[in-house]
Amino acid sequence: MSIDGGGLLLQAPAHYKFDDDVPMVVVTQRTAADELYRAGARAAGAITLGLMGLIGFFLLYRSREAFSSAGWRFFTEQRWSPPNAFGIAALLVGTIVIAVVALVVAFPIAAGTALYITEYAPLRVRRPLTSLVDLLAAIPSLIYGIWGAAVLSGRVANVSRFFADHFSWVRLPALQLSFWHWYRPFQTVSNAGFTASSMLAGIVVALMVLPICTAIMREVFSQAPQGERESALALGGTRWGVIRDVVLPFGKGGMIGGAMLGLGRALGETIAVAIIISPKFDIHSLLQPLQTGGNSIAAHIALRWPEQSAGGVPTSSLMAAGLVLFVMTLAVNMVASLVVARSRSGSATEI
């Protein structure tokens, strides 16, 4: 009998006795088609590997003109008017401010949603709810952008104005304003100073990072050992007790990892931020997210791209900005994947 496509050899080990409990060695002969298949699969893997290297290499290659023109001042300069003076400092601060706002908004909601799905929701609600949260990720960021600019803008500006009116005496850097006053209940300030802010951009970006944070946290929470949950309940614990003493300690790594993966997404969000913010390049005012104006590296590239003529320092400077963004998101995501992978492997369990 011939077997199509290959051959199989069963080899008994040397000194093989039938009463020994030694497994036989199975040797499969590889055919030419087989070698081709393995080589092809390896090549596909290598393409993925090479693609990431190529992205880094070409961005570096194209941005060398900008780096040689600006030197180290590229990392300290706030203005952006290539080829004269340009730098990433203000953009970097703006990017981080928007990402932090997004994370502050998204993290509690994501944690709550994940806990609701794993701990509270009736069984038949769980799957639809998970699908709906994933649907939130499927909606394009462009649509979030125009929705945020047209619908959400006024509402967020109202809230921002309220905080600015009544809580500006709280000397948090995040709420700090250029003026100082105490509670004034009848103050009417127009919304004009509070539109197109980093706050609004951050809230819209939060909608986009919410699904990934929720998905990671849900996965980790659902892996909390069932035996420990039941033990906690059997000892008379409430459901909050179970969450506090079993689920959260077990899922701590996943929560941190999920938040960091969300941070990586938030740093790179482009078109929604480009639609919402009105760009500004002053670090001091960028640190006040409630006020009009903001900036981020990705949005800056999208907004400035039409202005650049092909080649030269202006193009190169945007490539340099892209390189910084690439390195930053890559670093954040690598660390996040490590954290999530470690929590998945069960090293967080204490039994």
Binding site: L51, I109, G112, V133, A150, I275
Partner: protein, 421 residues
């Protein structure tokens, strides 16, 4: 002879020692709890109205809701504490928080879909979907021009990206899961990292490598290449998950019959995972169909129907929407109306793709087909019955065919699974 089927005594089966007599329900809401919540909601509503609207000079719907919610928390905690003590009061308050978080997560989803639909449908018409903008300025009324060229461009660009990245992604996943080797770990890690590469960086990369040296012009092809980079990690990851679900016993059985690696993958692993492979391709499409940033740098945009993605500058729906946003003179202007209508079309495409991926059974096709047909009937019936009716009928026929195909595929995958496992 008749048999009396009435039993006076119920049949009592002996208890099965392995099955507990009654399962303990952990998820359980008592009637007392529900009554407490209703009481807290009504009480806090009344108190909010009194304090927020009457006693303090505050107003506004959003503030009212926040105040009501805060008071609801306090009242729930108090009522629970009076009835059941501090421990269960804590439990109740946390339950309110967590349920609220889940509700808040769904509000923007509904709000986005509703506002896009209500803003977008006014300007939507059959002419708008089939014409291009070649002889229409952005300030011309909405009855002129359309987005046909953008829809065509999107379909071609996303199709090309799919053709590139689905085979590559599937083979990479096969490498990770079936072949393996020293390279597998770094490849898996970099696929993870790649899924987080900002979309604009993909556009920059294609511009830096292919467009700037002049290998590729600004065209739909360049856009497709940029999108395929974005799509690759999604396809690889989801395919890998699907391949991992193929039972190892199937592979071992195949090897035991003398099949080689390639034969096993081709004849056992991939056919078993077929429906999952389709899902991963669709999820990849859903990932890129709305991407704007890479297209901004690669396709340049166009006003006319341009069918050749390799030579022509093309328009795509997201790029068109962004362009109209920039040209918009304010709410209600033609560019603004075009933007919302195009956004509605894009949202519909995304939802269609998502539903197809989530429900690979016939349900998804029935849903999407019915929704499309109903929409067409409702929307186009008044404009032109001569055009609307045949299109609606065709759509219904196509969705019926899709249902039949899906059912056949399902039956096949079921039967193969039944035999192999």
């Amino acid at each position: 002879m008749t048999i009396d089927l009435r039993f006076d005594e119920p049949i009592v089966y002996p208890p099965d020692p392995d099955i507990p007599e009654e399962l303990v329900a952990i998820v359980h809401t008592t009637r007392d709890e529900i009554v407490t919540w209703i009481a807290a909601a009504v009480g806090s509503l009344a108190a909010t109205w009194l304090v927020y609207e009457r006693l303090t000079p505050l107003s506004g719907g959003f503030g009212f809701l926040v105040f009501w919610w805060a008071l609801f928390n306090v009242l729930t905690w108090y009522l629970a504490r009076v009835q059941w003590g501090a421990v269960r009061a804590h439990d109740q308050v946390v339950r309110v928080w967590i349920t609220s978080a889940a509700a808040i997560a769904l509000i923007p989803l509904i709000a986005v879909i509703v506002s896009i639909a209500t803003k977008g449908y006014h300007a939507l018409s059959w002419r708008f979907l089939t014409r291009d903008m070649s002889s229409t300025s952005s300030s011309a009324p909405i009855s002129q021009g359309g987005i046909g060229h953008a829809i065509l461009g999107t379909l071609e660009i996303v199709g090309l990206a799919t053709v590139i990245s689905v085979p590559l992604g599937v083979i990479t996943a096969v490498y990770l899961n079936e072949v393996g080797g020293r390279m597998a770990r770094p490849v898996r890690m970099l696929t993870d990292a790649m899924s987080a590469v900002p979309s604009i960086v993909c556009g920059l990369f294609i511009y830096a490598t292919l467009i700037q040296p002049g290998y590729v012009h600004l065209s739909g092809w360049a856009g497709a290449l940029a999108l395929s980079i974005l799509m690759l990690p999604t396809v690889t990851r989801t395919t890998e998950v699907v391949l991992r679900l193929v039972p190892g016993g199937l592979r071992e059985a195949s090897f035991a019959l003398g099949a080689t690696d390639w034969r096993t993958t081709r004849s056992v692993v991939l056919p078993t995972a077929r429906s999952g492979l389709v899902t991963s391709a669709i999820l990849g499409v859903a990932r890129v169909i709305g991407e704007t940033a890479p297209l901004l740098l690669t396709i340049f945009g166009a006003f006319t129907f341009a069918g050749n993605p390799f030579g022509d500058r093309q328009e795509a729906l997201p790029h068109f929407i962004y362009g109209q946003y920039q040209q918009s003179q304010g709410p209600g202007t033609p560019a603004d109306l075009r933007m919302w209508s195009a956004a509605l079309v894009l949202l519909f495409l995304v939802l269609f793709v998502f539903v197809t991926a989530r429900f690979p059974t016939s349900r998804g096709y029935v849903f999407a087909g019915t929704a499309t047909a109903l929409f067409c009937l409702w929307r186009f019936e008044s404009t032109s019955a001569a055009i609307g009716a045949p299109i609606t009928l065709t759509l219904i026929a196509v969705s019926a065919m899709a249902v039949a195909l899906a059912k056949r595929a399902r039956r096949r995958s079921h039967s193969s699974k039944g035999v192999l496992v």
